[in-house]
Symmetry: C2
Subunit: 313 residues, 2 copies
């Protein structure tokens, strides 16, 4: 089984070639959204809502101040009820579901939404979603589908009206064809676009054959990686935003506060930890970010708008 | 089904009569512990470890400074791995398991340890352990036993070596005979004393017939209730400690910090909330509490010592 080294992925994404594929629609996604095909369109997307109160609080602040305009929610996590309640009471907010098959921390963990005995291949010896997958881990795609359907159904039952689906740690994208097909099946079944970026086609040859002719495909993805030193955070984002290409780009960011809860939950490693998330929060809530968007004539778009093109196809 | 109004219970406990029963052993528990029968012995017991990081951090501080000398852990909760890791690395600490059948908060919740489809009567419509039980809620005692056995087995598998068992929100004590018998069965099976207080015999007539001749029974319980105004917290504890009777008393307290995480997790009501737990922390870590113990010639005992008398019987 092919597994993903996320720090490496971050590098790959930034250097990946733009590949013109058989799935390239006659109209670009930008055009379907009502913009010229050379418009620079951006989704500023917060990941991992539900994981902790700290992430929820910072992400809600981000949504309410316009620092982010879209986000996705992890249903199996302990603070899901808090963000589900917020989503139910803010039906215009652009929330997707961050489909989750791992519980990647050490001191703070969660189990599956589906009955444990129906999804054994996803669980470790203590009954939590696995900390990580190795090439020897067999993840049964039917069990992954059972678990992810249970996540979507719990979200719907609790009043979330998601605009899209994406995959925590890109597990559904980067592992193998079978899991990618699970994601696409759920996307079609629930009529919710699944986040796929054209940037990734070169690295994952099973993407293009699996995609339907009318599938939504985002043009580019930007995400910061551990190779960027903390003091270079703003430089990286400024540089990347200045170099943004035409088409729809998703900027995948991770909001949270560098507070007691977040530090405790992520203390075993710095990657995607408390200070990392505070740096993301600080940059995207800054006046500098707003200024850059204007300077570069970048327009913001949401998954809700994109989903409309998906359903019309 | 009889359900428990916890604030009322707190009052009941304080006024309950000392009932001499058929189960009164020939030797008192104090004597079995090597003290004269008129000695005043105290367990200062922290509840709810595992529920949040805030509770874990405050309780660890309490254990390490001697403010509490025993505590019990909620296995289904998200921060269980943190406290299990601590327990594994501090094998002399006096940790029991706080057997948990409810998930009583609104914005922050947990599900069962056992497979959901094996314990349906314990779950709400979204798959969490129920927020509360009403007289119409049917809790299947066989399912409760499956869930609680799964909790004990997860704790053992993750390196916790518990000294005792007790029941979150007294659900196993106060609901009905069948659930009380589940607790006693698990207690005997795992050779871990289950916290029962003689104070409760008058209110729960099914206690005495269910107890074996050699069962461990604590003499008294003290716990604060919502009828005590915040500014009277220290007065209540001072007064109660001064009035402590001979025999073994368990002081059931709830440590936590009045911090962002704890406030968010408990924000829907003040009872057992963030400020409540900070007040408990502040009183029991004070010099005043230590002074009172000396003044009243109160000796501290642990569940580990009590468990030895249970196993020897």
């Amino acid at each position: 089984m092919r597994t993903l080294n996320l720090p490496l992925l971050s590098c790959f994404l930034l250097v990946a070639n733009f590949s013109t594929s058989a799935q390239t629609p006659l109209k670009t996604l930008a055009e379907k959204l009502g913009y010229p095909s050379d418009a620079k369109l951006l989704i500023v997307h917060g990941d991992d809502l539900g994981v902790t109160h700290s992430v929820n609080a910072a992400s809600i602040k981000g949504l309410e101040t316009g620092a982010i305009n879209s986000a996705s929610i992890m249903v199996p996590c302990p603070w899901f009820p808090e963000i589900a309640d917020y989503a139910k009471n803010h039906p215009d907010a652009d929330f997707g579901l961050h489909l989750t098959l791992t519980s990647e921390r050490i001191y703070y963990r969660w189990g599956p939404v589906a009955p444990a005995d129906k999804v054994r291949s996803l669980l470790d010896e203590n009954g939590y979603l696995r900390h990580d997958w190795t090439p020897d881990t067999h993840i049964d795609p039917r069990q992954a589908e059972i678990e992810l359907r249970a996540q979507i159904e719990r979200a719907l039952a609790m009043g979330v009206r998601p605009t899209h689906l994406d995959s925590h740690q890109y597990r559904l994208d980067s592992t193998n064809k079978e899991l990618f097909q699970v994601a696409l099946r759920l996307s079609h079944e629930f009529k919710l676009p699944f986040f796929v970026s054209r940037d990734w086609f070169a690295d994952y040859p099973y993407f293009e054959p699996a995609l339907a002719q009318n599938e939504v495909v985002i043009d580019h993805t930007i995400t910061i990686g551990p190779e960027i030193a903390p003091e270079k955070w703003a430089d990286f984002y400024q540089d990347t935003i200045r170099k943004m290409k035409p088409g729809v780009t998703e900027l995948v960011i991770h909001f949270g506060y560098d507070d007691t809860e977040m530090r405790a939950a992520t203390r075993e490693r710095a990657t995607w930890g408390a200070a990392w998330r505070q740096r993301d929060f600080d940059f995207f809530t800054s006046a500098e970010f707003r200024r850059l968007l204007e300077e570069q004539d970048i327009k913001l778009v949401t998954w809700r708008e994109i989903a409309r093109t998906f359903r019309q196809d």
